[in-house]
């Protein structure tokens, strides 16, 4: 153990002061394998990258000093693309070629309501991809959501490399706790495409808990209230010295800060409609400016009791340009979003119930996610949990910090902290009669596995199909279809003869893996799980090598 430490310290000294190019040349392969691990919070609205240096986790700023990077990708006419604040500005100037909130679409089916909703409001083109997936079409070229996310990850990687002056190729990436298998897989694929070895996918609230409690020797039960741009999670954890045990987690991947903005947008559009008889929501350019103003208004209302929202020349009418002016009081905004806040507490009820606890048993509440900076949220959380949320934790940085701590814990297996996380939803298979046979219950610690014995229903049947679902409904149709397992090459026999043990595993990333073996012969059977909407191994590798060069968009046009 000590030996490694010295070795690493020595390597770090070599790294400091060298420029990236020289450094790469000096390192042999093995040393490069020891390159630093970053933690990346890939958020719906913003992302952040962090690293542990000298035992301290910190968020890495970009060259402009920004630590919180907008998760926006803009594609320029000359084939280059930009990510971050500059891209975000182009949301108004060039909405058709600027992609935001891509995380709301990742791993989703084209026919889902979330995709329909995004199509109605987004100026960029969302079209159906292969395998019921979703792709985004920009300047005549199609990108999968994993690819769009990989552009953001590449930027985070670049920020880290510029800051550290060394190559970064390993990362721990966070996802909402309530992300399903498809969404986790797509996020991991995005990391791979970005040229990162994804050491682990961890849950955002769990990462936040780690950042909060790491090295403090706490013995506490805590609640993590994580309201992101597009998702809501609540996790209940018990911290016992070095162990972070998730007792229960619940969430809603259709609820986030974006929805709060939408309420304000709707309200402003209504006022405008009453005054001018023009519906701004039907004009995607006007809608984009309205979105921008609503977002700023929302932030303003955290500090002030009232905000003035005005946009000059938001729309061009026959009589000339029209302006939008409105005053919004904090209390009124609170009324507009009241039901959304209550919706988060319904999810909290569920998590508390599954943990077998009441709110007074929690020692601390931690707020995570930009939207929790809103004072209306802070106040509501305080009255729900009967305690003031922890202050002094930056809700936008804490997740990336936790991810970097986990990254370094994995690299130095001796580190004292240990995460015991759970699967957020039940895993099951379709049975006759339309019911789901639940194999793994939600809140089961991961990694975990369950097996079932399968047999054939016809003589000489060669293959068996097993449909896999995630969700809590008794009827499988009401749950999220995860994919179809196809067991092939079954040895020819009378029906009911072959006994094949199929094992469903949820690994430490929360991703489902299946394996199968013949019970009698002990032979491994071929089984494949096709995740609907996902990318194949080959597609990922192809995209990875295409992007490996860095400036690839031009040549790919």
């Amino acid at each position: 153990m000590d030996v490694l430490y010295i070795f690493m310290a020595g390597r770090l000294r070599v790294g400091a002061g060298c420029d990236r190019f020289n450094f790469d040349n000096r390192l042999d392969y093995k040393e490069k394998m020891m390159a630093k691990v970053v933690g990346i919070d890939l958020g719906t609205s913003t992302s952040a990258v962090a690293i542990v240096e000298d035992g301290m986790a910190k968020v890495i700023p970009n060259e402009r000093g920004e630590k919180i990077i907008p998760s926006v990708v803009s594609f320029l006419e000359d084939g280059t693309r930009i990510v971050g604040t500059l891209a975000k500005r182009r949301m108004i100037m060039d909405p058709e070629n600027t992609v935001y909130s891509a995380k709301r679409l990742i791993g989703r089916k084209f026919f889902s309501s979330e995709v329909k909703k995004a199509q109605a409001v987004c100026a960029y083109k969302i079209v159906e991809g292969p395998n019921q997936g979703v792709v985004i079409e920009i300047r005549g070229k199609q990108y999968s959501l994993a690819e769009i996310s990989s552009f953001i990850l590449m930027e985070m990687k670049r920020i880290a490399e510029d800051y550290l002056h060394e190559k970064v190729d390993r990362a721990v990436i966070t996802v909402p706790a309530y992300f399903n298998d498809g969404q986790r897989q797509a996020t991991k694929d995005a990391g791979t495409i970005a040229g990162l070895q994804v050491l682990r996918i961890i849950n955002e609230p769990t990462a936040a808990a780690l950042a909060y409690g790491f090295g403090k020797g706490l013995n506490q039960k805590i609640g993590i209230y994580d309201l992101g741009g597009g998702t809501f999670d609540i996790s209940v954890l018990e911290i016992g010295d070095d162990i972070f045990e998730v007792i229960s987690t619940a969430g809603d991947t259709f609820l986030g800060g974006d929805d709060f903005d939408d309420r304000l947008i709707d309200y402003l559009a209504e006022i405008f409609y009453k005054e001018h008889n023009v519906d701004l929501r039907t004009n995607k350019h006007a809608l984009q400016r309205l979105k921008d103003a609503a977002e700023r208004g929302k932030v303003d209302l955290s500090e002030n009791l009232e905000t003035d929202i005005s946009i000059t020349g938001i729309v061009e009418e026959m009589a000339g340009p029209l302006d939008l002016h409105a005053k919004v009081a904090r209390n009124y905004f609170g009324k507009l979003v009241y039901d959304l806040i209550q919706k988060t507490f319904k999810v909290c009820d569920e998590a508390m119930q599954n943990a077998g606890m009441t709110v007074d048993q929690l020692d601390s509440i931690i707020l995570v996610g930009g939207p929790t900076k809103m004072s209306i949220i802070k106040e509501a959380v305080e009255s729900y949990f009967f305690k003031t949320p922890q202050s002094g934790i930056n809700p936008e940085e804490v997740v990336a910090l936790g991810a970097s701590i986990q990254g370094s814990a994995l690299m130095e297996s001796s580190t004292s902290s240990l995460l015991l996380d759970v699967t957020p939803m039940s895993l099951g298979i379709a049975t006759a009669g339309g019911l789901m046979d639940r194999l793994i219950a939600r809140n089961t610690p991961i990694p975990t596995e369950q097996s079932r014995i399968y047999t054939t229903t016809r003589d000489n049947q060669e293959s068996v199909n097993i449909r896999v679902f995630q969700g809590e409904n008794r009827k499988y149709d009401e749950n999220e279809p995860l994919g179809e397992c196809r067991l092939t090459g079954v040895r020819p026999a009378k029906k009911g003869g072959p006994k094949i043990k199929v094992t469903f595993e949820i690994n430490a990333d929360g991703i489902v893996e299946v394996s199968a073996e013949d019970v009698d012969t002990g032979q491994e059977q071929r089984i494949t799980l096709n995740v609907s909407g996902g990318l194949s191994r080959e597609e990922i590798d192809k995209l990875k090598s295409q992007h490996a060069s860095g400036e690839d968009v031009a040549e790919r046009k």
């Binding site: 994995l410 297996s413 240990l418 015991l420 975990t448 399968y454 229903t457 009911g496």
Partner: protein, 173 residues
């Protein structure tokens, strides 16, 4: 950085033995251990065998540790719920002990049954098709299976029967 040789030997022997241990033995607690003791044991064993602690070990070690840890969480999950703990403790007391070392959830080993239809019309056409098929009226069977499949396009059983009857019709020609 590599783990000690002694640890490796320990992992190998546990991996070999684990199928013969009950959950109490896996967590190294008495059968009358309190819920707190079970939890402490779970944490203690997790510190020893969580795969994260072996992240940089060769795959064969990591694989064994993952298997051990999965069994530890399985033991904890069953023993931390009073209801399942009770059922389990009784099940390993009898003569069938060796068969019940792992908790059996609900119906184990359920066979994927034929999906006889989720809609009234789907079921009806499917049954009519089967009758026709058994009477070797393959043309009639085909029409009924087609109608059934039309009612429930996702039903795999209907598709299988339709394929079967088409095969019959082909071989007759």
């Amino acid at each position: 950085m590599a783990i000690e040789e002694r640890k490796k030997i320990e992992i190998n022997s546990i991996a070999r033995l684990i199928d013969e241990l009950d959950y109490f033995q896996i967590l190294k607690v008495n059968q009358n251990a309190s819920p707190e003791e079970v939890k402490i044991a779970y944490f203690r064993e997790s510190r020893q065998y969580h795969p994260d602690k072996f992240y940089n070990e060769p795959p064969e070690v990591a694989k064994k540790v993952t298997m051990i840890f999965k069994r530890i969480t399985e033991a904890y999950k069953i023993l931390s719920d009073p209801e399942t703990r009770d059922v389990y403790t009784k099940s390993i007391a009898g003569s069938d002990r060796h068969k019940n070392l792992r908790y059996i959830h609900g119906v184990q080993g359920g066979l994927p049954k034929e999906d006889e239809g989720q809609t009234t019309m789907g079921r009806k056409y499917f049954q009519m098709g089967k009758v026709a098929f058994n009477n070797m009226d393959y043309k009639g069977a085909k029409i009924n299976f087609q109608l059934a499949a039309k009612m429930e396009p996702k039903n795999e059983t209907f598709k299988e029967y339709l394929a079967k009857v088409e095969e019959k019709l082909r071989s007759k020609k």
